[in-house]
C-alpha cells in the first residue's frame, strides 16, 4: 500500500496521512490546536449555543425531579417513551468509538489512527448523556442507588439479578469505565507531549499531573503496548455485549415487536451504524475548522461511509426479517404490529425511518457520493435522525397497541421530554467543544508511528 498508485486502471486511493509529514510536524500541528491557537469567535459562539441547551437540560431535569415523571408524556400503555428512545440512541452512538479504537486496532487498520481519539471522546460523552435517562426515569434519582447498585442497606433488599435492567446497569457502567481507561491510557503519552511543550506554568502543572511523569522509556512502552492491546481485546467483546444487553431489555419482554431473537445482532449493527454517522458528523466540521485535512483524509471519510453502508444493510436485513417473521409465524399480534407500523397513527415516523435509514444511504454505493464531503455530512445527519426514529418505532409503536384493543393508547411527548433530549444534545456538543480545546483531538503518539511506517514504505 503506497501513497501513490502508478497502475492507471486502479483508482487512486487517498493516503491515510498526507505526504511530507515528520515526527516534528505532526507534533507541532496537533499540539498547537490545544496550546497556542486562540479559541476564536466561532468557538465561543458554538459553545454558547450549546451551553444554552445545557441550561434547558438543567431546567427540564429540575422540573422533573420537583414534579415527578408525570410531567413527561408517559402513561399506560406507553410507559417507556422519549427517555428510553434517547437512552438507546445515545448508547448506540457510543459504539462506533469503541469499534474504531479497539476492533480496528486488532484488525490492524491503520486508518483508525487519526480518528480514534475523538471517536473515543464521543463514546464517553454519548454514554454520559445516555446514563442520565434511566437515572431520571426513576423520577427520584437519589433512590435509584438501592435498586441499581448492590450495596448492603438497612432495608435488607438487593437488586434483581435475573432482570435485564440490572444487566444493563452493569453493562453500561462497565462500558463507561473501560472506555475511560482506554481513552486515558491512549492519552498518556500525548499529555506528556503537552506538558513538555506548554509554555505557561498552570498548563505545565495540569498536563504534568495528568501525564503522571511519563517519559517515553522503552521499558514503559513495552508494558504500555501490551496493556493497550489487552484493553482492545477486552473492549471488543464488551462493546458487543453492551448493545446486546440493551436489546435484552426489549427482547426478554413478551410485547409484540420486542420479543424476537434477531434483536441482539440487529441492535449492535444499528449502534455501529449510528455511531459512524455521528463520527462523520463530528469529523467533517473538525477537519475543516482546524485544518486537519492532512490527517483526516478522504480515505477516512470514504472508509467510514463504507462501514455505514455495510451496517446499514444489516439493519435493513433486520427490518426485513421482522416483517418476514410477522407474516411467516402467523401470529396475529405480530402481523397486526407490522400493519400498524405502516398504516397506524405513527406511520409517518415509520416511513421516515425507512427513507432515512434504508433508501437515502444507498447513495453510498457511488464513489462520487462517498467522496463528496458536504453530501456525506448531510447523510450522516439523516442517518442519525433515522436511527433515532428506529428506536421510537421500536419503543413507542410496540407499546401503544399490544394485545387488547381496550388497553390501547397513544403517546405524545411533552415540552419537558423535548427539553431533556435537546438538553443532552447541547451537553454533548459542549463537551466536544471543550475537548478539542484542552486535549489533542488526534493521537499524536500514534500519528508519529504512522509517519514512521509510511516513510518506511516509501523507501
Amino acid at each position: 500500500m503506497s501513497a501513490t498508485n502508478d497502475t492507471p486502471n486502479l483508482r487512486r486511493v487517498a493516503p491515510v496521512v498526507a505526504p511530507g509529514h515528520t515526527f516534528g510536524t505532526v507534533t507541532e500541528k496537533i499540539s498547537s490546536i490545544v496550546l497556542s491557537r486562540p479559541a476564536g469567535a466561532g468557538w465561543f459562539f458554538g459553545i454558547s449555543v450549546a451551553f444554552a441547551f445545557v441550561m434547558i437540560l438543567g431546567m427540564s431535569a429540575a422540573y422533573l425531579i420537583m414534579k415527578g415523571t408525570g410531567v413527561w408524556g408517559l402513561n399506560v400503555p406507553v410507559a417507556w417513551g422519549f427517555a428510553i428512545v434517547n437512552f438507546v440512541w445515545w448508547i448506540g452512538i457510543g459504539h462506533a468509538g469503541t469499534l474504531i479504537s479497539a476492533i480496528l486496532l486488532l484488525l490492524n487498520q491503520k486508518w483508525r489512527t487519526s480518528i480514534n481519539r475523538f471517536a473515543e471522546a464521543m463514546t464517553l460523552f454519548a454514554v454520559a448523556c445516555a446514563g442520565m435517562f434511566p437515572l431520571l426515569h426513576t423520577g427520584r434519582p437519589w433512590y435509584a442507588a438501592y435498586f441499581m447498585m448492590p450495596y448492603p442497606n438497612t432495608m435488607g433488599i438487593w437488586p434483581q439479578f435475573r432482570s435485564p435492567l440490572i444487566w444493563d446497569v452493569f453493562a453500561v457502567s462497565t462500558y463507561f469505565t473501560v472506555s475511560l481507561l482506554f481513552w486515558f491510557v491512549g492519552l498518556l503519552p500525548d499529555l506528556a507531549t503537552l506538558r513538555d511543550r506548554a509554555t505557561s506554568k498552570p498548563k505545565q502543572m495540569i498536563y504534568g499531573l495528568l501525564a503522571m511523569g511519563w517519559r517515553g522509556s522503552a521499558r514503559h512502552w513495552h508494558r504500555y503496548q501490551m496493556a493497550y492491546l489487552l484493553l482492545a481485546g477486552l473492549a471488543t467483546p464488551l462493546v458487543v455485549s453492551v448493545h446486546t444487553v440493551v436489546s435484552f431489555d426489549f427482547a426478554v419482554a413478551v410485547v409484540p415487536g420486542w420479543h424476537t431473537t434477531i434483536f441482539p445482532p440487529y441492535f449492535v449493527a444499528g449502534a455501529i451504524y449510528s455511531g459512524f454517522a455521528m463520527v462523520l458528523t463530528l469529523a467533517i466540521p473538525l477537519r475543516k475548522f482546524y485544518g486537519l485535512e492532512d490527517f483526516i483524509t478522504m480515505r477516512h471519510l470514504e472508509n467510514m461511509a463504507k462501514v455505514m453502508l455495510a451496517t446499514g444493510l444489516i439493519v435493513a436485513y433486520g427490518y426485513a426479517m421482522e416483517f418476514f417473521m410477522a407474516s411467516y409465524s402467523g401470529n396475529k399480534y405480530d402481523t397486526f404490529l407490522a400493519w400498524n407500523r405502516m398504516h397506524g397513527p405513527y406511520a409517518a415516523f415509520y416511513w421516515a425511518l425507512i427513507l432515512c435509514n434504508i433508501v437515502i444511504p444507498q447513495l453510498l454505493w457511488l464513489h462520487r457520493a462517498r467522496t463528496n464531503v458536504v453530501l456525506l455530512f448531510v447523510m450522516s445527519l439523516v442517518i442519525n435522525v433515522g436511527m433515532w426514529l428506529e428506536r421510537f418505532v421500536i419503543v413507542v409503536m410496540s407499546l401503544h397497541r399490544d394485545f387488547m384493543p381496550s388497553a390501547w393508547g397513544n403517546y405524545r411527548p411533552t415540552i419537558w421530554d423535548v427539553g431533556l433530549f435537546t438538553g443532552t444534545l447541547g451537553f454533548f456538543v459542549m463537551l466536544i467543544f471543550l475537548f478539542v480545546r484542552v486535549l489533542p483531538a488526534i493521537s499524536i503518539a500514534e500519528m508519529r508511528e504512522l509517519v514512521a511506517h509510511t516513510s518506511e514504505e516509501q523507501k
Binding site: 515526527f23 507531549t193 503522571m212 517515553g216 521499558r219 496493556a227 467483546p237 514512521a452
Partner: protein
C-alpha cells in the same frame, strides 16, 4: 560513583531517527554496559528486542483481574440470590446461573481492564513526579516530540562516566549529555 552535591544518574545520547536508536542500543548492549534505557516519542518496533527486554507481567495481571472480577461478580449474585435474600418462586432454583452470566461477563471484563491499566502503571512505577532524565534540557524539550535518546545508567556494574561518554560519542549521536540527579 561520584559522590558530589549532584549525583550522576547516567550519560545520555540523542539520536535523530529510530533506526539510529535501535542500532545504538544494540551496540551499547553488545559492548557490555549493563544498565541502559532508551526513550522514544512513540513505541518503536524492535527497540524492546534491541534492549533485551523480557516479557512483561501485564498479561498475567490482566488474567488475575479477570478471574477475580468474574468470581466476584458471580459470587455477589450467588450470595444475594441464595444466601442473603432467597426468594422461592414456584420452586425454581435459587442459583439460576444462566441469568447470572451477563453480569459475570461484565465484571470479568471490568476486573481485567482495571488490572491491565493499573498493573501497567504500577509496573512502570507511575505516577512518578520526578526523574533525573528531565534535568537534561534537550531531553525535556524534545523527547516527547521528535528525538530519540539512549541513556547508560550509572548504577550498572563497572560504570565509568568518561568511558561511557566516549563510547556514546563514537555512535555519532546528535548530542551527548550527562544526566545529573540533583
Amino acid at each position: 560513583m561520584n559522590e558530589q552535591s549532584s549525583k550522576l544518574h547516567g550519560v545520555m545520547a540523542e539520536f535523530e531517527t529510530p533506526e539510529q536508536l535501535i542500532e545504538a542500543a544494540e551496540k551499547t548492549r553488545a559492548a557490555g554496559f549493563a544498565k541502559l534505557d532508551a526513550y522514544a516519542p512513540y513505541p518503536v518496533e524492535g527497540l524492546a528486542e534491541a534492549l533485551g527486554l523480557k516479557r512483561t507481567w501485564v498479561p498475567q495481571l490482566t488474567l488475575l483481574g479477570g478471574i477475580l472480577g468474574g468470581c466476584g461478580g458471580f459470587g455477589l449474585q450467588y450470595f444475594v440470590s441464595v444466601i442473603s435474600y432467597p426468594l422461592n418462586i414456584g420452586g425454581r432454583p435459587l442459583n439460576s446461573w444462566p441469568a447470572f452470566i451477563p453480569v459475570t461477563f461484565e465484571t470479568t471484563v471490568l476486573g481485567a481492564a482495571i488490572f491491565a491499566v493499573f498493573g501497567m502503571l504500577a509496573l512502570n512505577k507511575l505516577p512518578q513526579p520526578y526523574h533525573p532524565v528531565f534535568n537534561v534540557a534537550r531531553f525535556a524539550a524534545r523527547a516527547s516530540s521528535d528525538r530519540f535518546f539512549l541513556c547508560i545508567e550509572a548504577d550498572g556494574e563497572k560504570f565509568d562516566g568518561a568511558g561511557a561518554r566516549k563510547f556514546l560519542e563514537g555512535l555519532k549521536p546528535a548530542s551527548v549529555a550527562e544526566v545529573l540527579d540533583e
